[in-house]
């Protein structure tokens, strides 16, 4: 066994397992850059694979083969199944142990490798505006893996510090939106100065550099651009001027990974890669605008509460100190007893105690009351703001999220904020102030015993740290397991009828998954039994008591302490450890609350459907003649006229769903949209109902751009009935009259009659006053007719309709159809058609294909034309079989 110095000792204390790897292949990718492929059947039982994941290698010292050094290298290729992987080395002179090893390595060479502390780069749920990657030759392997993991539509800026001209020959991964900048190193700050001065709002940074450069980069990012800490992942990979080869590994590095890559002379200068932009480090850079980050949004949300929380924190600090006071008074009491104080003094102490305790209780109760009260108001206002914001978001936003996510936002996240305001801040203050106060008090009384009390705390922390290290990827796996079990349990439950009838395999599969899960938890947790016991025993009051009394007896007997000074320790010292370790726990509530605050603020910041001033909407239009027409039409508005004017729409930039559609729907006519699914017919219809805003052109009704209409005005003109029937909790009458809450009873009944639902309503327990859902379950067709009645009563001149509505419920299909026919009468109707034979009589059929109008005309015209429609018609049995998969009305 080679000597591995202090580093090695630490590693084995952490229970680090070494695996043997055998070199199978060495490839020179660039001058001074080699990729070494290795195989190790066991290493992937420990190591996690993913972007930026790295392994620790033990390389022999070039001068003293008995000594080994540990170096971390990024995994560039990995096949966990086969147990093969590769790492890249930068070769340099003078060579360190890793460089020397890599330079001379041949297939068959063996090396020991271990995994610990490696972190995997993961994309956050909420993607940043872009990634700023800063590195050098040593971090190119990691940067490559990040580039491969980054979505193609996310912009990426890569800054690489050039230590050697040959660095530019090292192969880089491709990314369609990558901008590459090579910056020759002229000192610690040259790279930092080269970072473009721009608004980096919502970008994230990943950087791994030489330590000095990194320091400069950190300052640049934080001070000049305003990057929040949470958005920066930074590592020092190596140190300029420290030849690692001369270090005997005694240095326990505080950086997570240290890829050796000393900078020295080497290969010849070579042309830079195509889009490298040499930036002068000395150029005067204008002051960068400080960006704003969504990550900081939480702070903005609770800004109005800042003063409150400060006051609460200060009050809580006082309360905490007051709550500790009785112990000090008890010490005082003991002193008085010892000195034989008279009863008046004792009484005074007693009264002090009562006053202090009383005021502590009163103060903390008052604080709680006040915070709850403030919070209740804040919470209500916040929810109101959220709901108001949501009412102005594109309807597509709701389709994307679903009611569960929205409930989390309005309900759970505001509740988490509630905890933040009412408890988290106080808890955190208490968790910090109490141990700090006790610590100071005890150190002032007797620093020797106080110091001794820190020993168990240290043992606890070290044991815990070792456990965390030994757990490795297990906590992450545990989360994945929990998620998976949740999904599998859901599937097992949803499939119960099927499992029972068809049984066998599916049920036993779930059972074996349960076994695996139980085994995973057991394998993970069981080895920790001893560690956990140690942590528990070392930190319990009895242990502290023994330390205090032992030291106390010794010090007292030797006469170096007044026994009265032991009392604070006996009173407060025994729970000292628990208090100190509670700090972390007390602070955790803060981060949960801030995360919730961030989600809420981000929703409040979502882009709303704003009502545009009319002239602005016109300026937006390309065609000035159109706006002239617009103006002229304004004076003769034709209600019910719908115009799509060169309309384009894309959910994501560059991927148009609707492209250059121009249509004119004359008042009182029925237009059917036809096309295979994905052709954009639902989206086009949704644009008229302003579920989304067009990205090109304009949709006009009665001559006015719908973006200039306030919501209330728009929806007095446009109504819609889709397959997804939305009833609110309330009576039948309330549901029909949703849009016209003050409608007369007769009007409601008339609408119901026309929608063929009146008779059914009369058969309900309370007729029109029956509460839907709780008192009466309505069938699909009945709900549809109710929605149709609602649309009839709303009486909008324009109607968007999904033809599938007519067929959603076979039991009352006929009645729904009649109701729909009645609803369509006398309105401008845009209908999304699935079954061609139902729309043969409409005024116009528009065939869409890939978001463009392919054909339009009457059924007879189109059949005669023999185009796309004709083909759809001839093949309609087949197309109807592949009809819409979901009832989503917007996509």
């Amino acid at each position: 066994m080679a000597k591995r110095g202090f580093n090695g000792a630490i590693m084995s204390a952490f229970g680090l397992r070494d695996h043997e790897a055998e070199v199978i292949d060495v490839e020179h990718l660039a001058p001074n850059f080699v990729r070494v492929r290795m195989t190790s059947p066991t290493v992937f039982t420990d190591a996690e694979v993913g972007p930026t994941a790295w392994l620790r290698f033990w390389f022999p010292d070039p001068d003293d083969p008995d000594f080994e050094h540990q170096r971390g290298y990024t995994i560039t290729e990995a096949d966990p199944e086969a147990g093969t992987f590769a790492v890249d080395f930068v070769l340099h002179e003078p060579a360190g142990p890793a460089s020397a090893w890599a330079e001379s390595v041949t297939p068959g060479t063996r090396v020991e490798v271990a995994s610990m502390g490696s972190t995997v780069f993961t994309l956050p749920d909420e993607l940043p505006a872009g990634y700023l990657l800063i590195g050098d030759s040593a971090s190119i392997p990691a940067i490559n893996s990040i580039l491969e993991a980054t979505p193609a539509d996310l912009p990426v800026e890569v800054y690489l510090e050039e230590h050697e001209p040959s660095d530019r020959l090292i192969p880089l991964s491709r990314h369609p939106r990558m901008n590459l900048h090579w910056v020759p190193r002229r000192g610690d700050s040259s790279l930092a100065a080269a970072i473009e001065s721009r608004d980096w709002s919502d970008w994230r940074v990943w950087t791994a550099l030489e330590s000095g450069s990194l320091k400069a980069i950190r300052a640049r990012l934080k001070d000049d651009f305003g990057f929040p800490k949470s958005e920066i992942t930074a590592r020092a990979y190596w140190y300029e001027g420290r030849a690692f080869g001369k270090m005997r590994g005694e240095k326990k590095d505080d950086t997570p990974a240290e890829a050796a890559a000393e900078s020295t002379s080497g290969a010849e200068p070579s042309p830079a890669s195509a889009n490298a932009s040499p930036t002068s480090p000395n150029a005067e850079t204008p002051a960068a605008p400080k960006g704003s980050w969504r990550a900081n949004a939480g702070g903005r949300l609770i800004a109005p509460l800042k003063a409150t929380l400060w006051i609460a924190g200060i009050l809580q600090a006082i309360v905490t100190l007051v709550e500790l006071a009785p112990y000090v008074l008890l010490v005082e009491l003991s002193r008085q007893l010892l000195t034989g104080a008279d009863s008046a003094t004792l009484w005074a102490t007693g009264i002090w105690a009562v006053v202090l305790m009383g005021s502590g209780v009163v103060l903390s109760a008052a604080l709680l009351f006040w915070l709850h009260f403030v919070d209740a108001r804040f919470e209500r206002d916040l929810r109101r703001r959220l709901l108001t914001t949501m009412a102005r978001l594109p309807l597509g936003w709701f389709v994307d999220r679903g009611s569960g996510r929205i409930k989390q936002l309005v309900q759970d996240d505001t509740l988490a904020l509630h905890y933040l305001v009412t408890h988290a801040v106080s808890d955190a203050v208490q968790a910090v102030v109490a141990p700090v106060a006790v610590l100071i008090y005890l150190f002032v009384v007797d620093w020797r015993i106080a110091l001794a009390l820190l020993v168990p705390v240290l043992v606890y922390i070290v044991t815990m740290y070792i456990m965390i290290i030994q757990s490795g990827t297990k906590p992450k796996q545990a989360l994945t397991w929990a998620e998976q079990m949740n999904v599998e349990a859901g599937s097992y439950l949803a499939g119960q009828p099927v499992i029972r009838v068809f049984g066998g395999a599916s049920a036993s599969r779930f059972r074996s998954r349960i076994d695996e899960y139980v085994r995973f938890l057991t394998d993970w947790q069981r080895p920790f039994t001893t560690s956990k016991t140690v942590m528990d025993l070392v930190n319990r009051p009895a242990t502290y008591l023994l330390i205090i009394t032992a030291l106390g007896t010794w010090l007292t007997v030797s006469g170096s302490i007044d026994p009265i000074d032991l009392l604070p320790f006996l009173f407060l010292g025994t729970t000292f450890g628990a208090r100190l370790l509670g700090i972390g726990y007390g602070l955790s509530g803060l981060s949960t609350g801030l995360l919730a605050a961030r989600r809420i603020q981000n929703t409040l910041d979502e882009e709303r459907l704003e009502v545009v001033e009319r002239h602005r909407a016109q300026v937006d239009e390309k065609d000035t003649a159109a706006s002239a027409r617009d103006a002229s039409r304004d004076s003769h508005p034709a209600p019910g006229l719908v115009e799509f004017d060169d309309v384009g729409f894309a959910y994501r930039p560059g991927v148009p769903v609707i492209d250059g559609v121009s249509l004119r729907l004359e008042p009182g006519t029925v237009t059917a949209l036809v096309g295979p699914s994905g052709s954009g017919k639902s989206t086009l219809a949704a644009l008229l109902a302003r579920f989304h805003d067009v990205t090109e052109g304009a949709v006009r009704i009665g001559g006015r751009d719908i973006r200039t209409l306030p919501g209330d005005e728009l929806y007095t003109q446009v109504g819609f009935v889709f397959q997804d029937i939305q009833l609110v909790q309330g009576t039948v009458a309330e549901n029909i009259a949703l849009a016209v809450p003050d409608a007369s009873e007769d009007a409601v009944i008339d609408a119901a009659r026309q929608a063929q639902i009146h008779d059914r309503i009369l058969r309900l327990p309370d007729g029109y006053d029956t509460v839907i859902g709780t008192e009466a379950a309505l069938s699909g067709g009945e709900r549809q007719r109710l929605a149709i009645a609602r649309a009839i009563l709303a009486d909008t001149p324009i109607l968007v309709l999904d033809e599938a509505t007519a067929f959603a419920d076979p039991e009352s299909e006929h009645l729904v159809q009649q109701a729909l026919g009645r609803l369509a009468t006398g309105r401008t109707v845009l209908v999304i058609a699935h079954r061609l034979h139902t729309i043969t009589d409409v005024d116009r059929i528009v065939v869409l294909d890939h978001g463009r109008v392919a054909e339009s005309g009457t059924h007879d015209d189109l059949i005669a034309a023999g185009g796309r429609y004709r083909r759809l018609w001839d093949a309609r049995e087949i197309t109807s079989a592949t009809a819409p998969r979901t009832q989503g009305a917007t996509r």
Partner: protein, 614 residues
Amino acid sequence: MIRTFLALMPADRRGAMGLHLALTVVSVILRALGTVVLVPLVAALFGPEPAEAWPWLGLLALATAAGWAIDAVISRIGMDLGFALLDSAQHGVTDRLSRIRLSWFTPANTATARQAIAATGPDLVGIVVYLLTPLLSGILLPITIAIALIPISGPLALAALIGVPILLAAFFGGARIGRHADRVAAETNSALTERVVEFARTQQALRASRRTETERSLVGTALSRQHGAAIRVLLLQVPGQVLFGIASQLALLVLAGTTAYLTVTGTISVPEAIALIVVIIRCLEPFTSLAGLSAAIESTTGVLRNIRTVLDAPTVGTAAPTDSTDRAPAQIQPHPQAQLHAQDLPRTQGQSRAQGSAASAPAITLTEVAFRYDPDSPDVVAGLDLEFAPGTTTAIVGPSGSGKSTILSLIAGLQEPSAGRVLVDGVDLAVLDATARHTLTGVVFQHPYLFDGSLRANVLAGHPEATEQRIDDVARLARLDELLARIPGGWDAEVGEGGTALSGGERQRVSIARALLKPAPILLVDEATSALDTENETAIVTALTDDPTPRTRILVAHRLGSIRTADRVIFLAEGRVIEDGTIDELRAADGRFAHFWREQDAASGWKLRAHPSA
């Protein structure tokens, strides 16, 4: 909570449980001893001869070391029990789930069951070590210290003995008030939650109705109401949170006051008094750790409650839904009398069918059958007397909610009649065990559920030993060949979780193939209501007419196409048979079915017009 815990603990761990309990008591006594030793120890330190403290310190060290040793053993046993609990709970819940009555799976119960499987593991492992042991010693330690004080200072011990129960009461009382307040708050919140979810779910309708502005919206009203309630809840919440604090400070005051009084009156010496103050503080200390446990108590109670809910759910084949509550899950069995394994049957059709042979189609008889979801709800079907002749195809027709699907569930043995009997060739389904019962039927569900896996695996679930020829046959009958030709990977294509990679119609056809492949003598088809997929209609018709396997077929039908395949039609309304006969007979009778037929006929030719003629 304790009940569930004990029920989950496997029988062979009872001994370990006892040992754990006994050792915990010993550990508490040792700790109390360690505390009481402080009296002579501290007294000596404050006395004229501090060196007299050494022997006492030795004793304290001994007690502490012994405590460590015992606690190490306790924690080892505790971890062991935790893992045993984990294993038994996960399997107990899974086993139970496979036998629970289907009607129990409401959305709320399903969510609970899901939690009980997926979210309880880590909590269960730690339940003994992190909750029970500290809870037990936290309660026992102050009491034990108080008792140990008796020989040292009677009056102080008395004060402590009175004080400790009061403190415990304040602790649990405060927690209870807090829970009550939380419950009230949750109730006021849930009304708002419902409106919020509705606000999101019905956003289109609300916006079209111009009801989204807070002042005009339903959710705005709910919000104002919730705010008022939240302010009222405050009056409950705060007292719960400060009650224990007040009590413990009072206790400290009274006990210290008593000590001071005893000292001033000369009952005890000053060093003794100081030592006793130390002991008093140590006596109150465990309450601090109890306070730290309340969150864990809360979450663990929730975990155990979820498990309990599943374990208490009524199972298929048990007469009384709640009579199994006192049994451990591993021992829960279907009701013995109602349970009869297929092998135990005398030579009946049931036996041969249970072995998978389907030589002939059986007769199905329903006598006086009624069904309701739970004892308080109204009957879904009632007084059903039906006879399905061997080899016939029957269509059940009727408005939604009339109980059509329920009849299929009853015959499939997925639900059990609340009254009456379902007989297959004269054998009551209730005497067959679940496996035998399910061997009899192949079912096409209205909302077919597919398992994550390949198309082939899903079809084969019906009959894993089926021949290739047979698999190809059913694929053709179910119109699956078109999908197989189109989908990348063909038979090996993955269907996704729940079958979501396929369209509704495609899922339906896979499920038809699955049911056809199963060599069951009864085929039950619940036709999908969605009318957009004509391919499915054809698939159902061929599945019913062209399948050569002798079967008795029952179909819940919505479309004329599939109804036409039936020998006989039953028209159901409000859980009762209204009309029964051949299609021609019923059309001639000009009743509900004839009306339904005409409407369907009209609907299939419907066209959307701006000016309808109707």
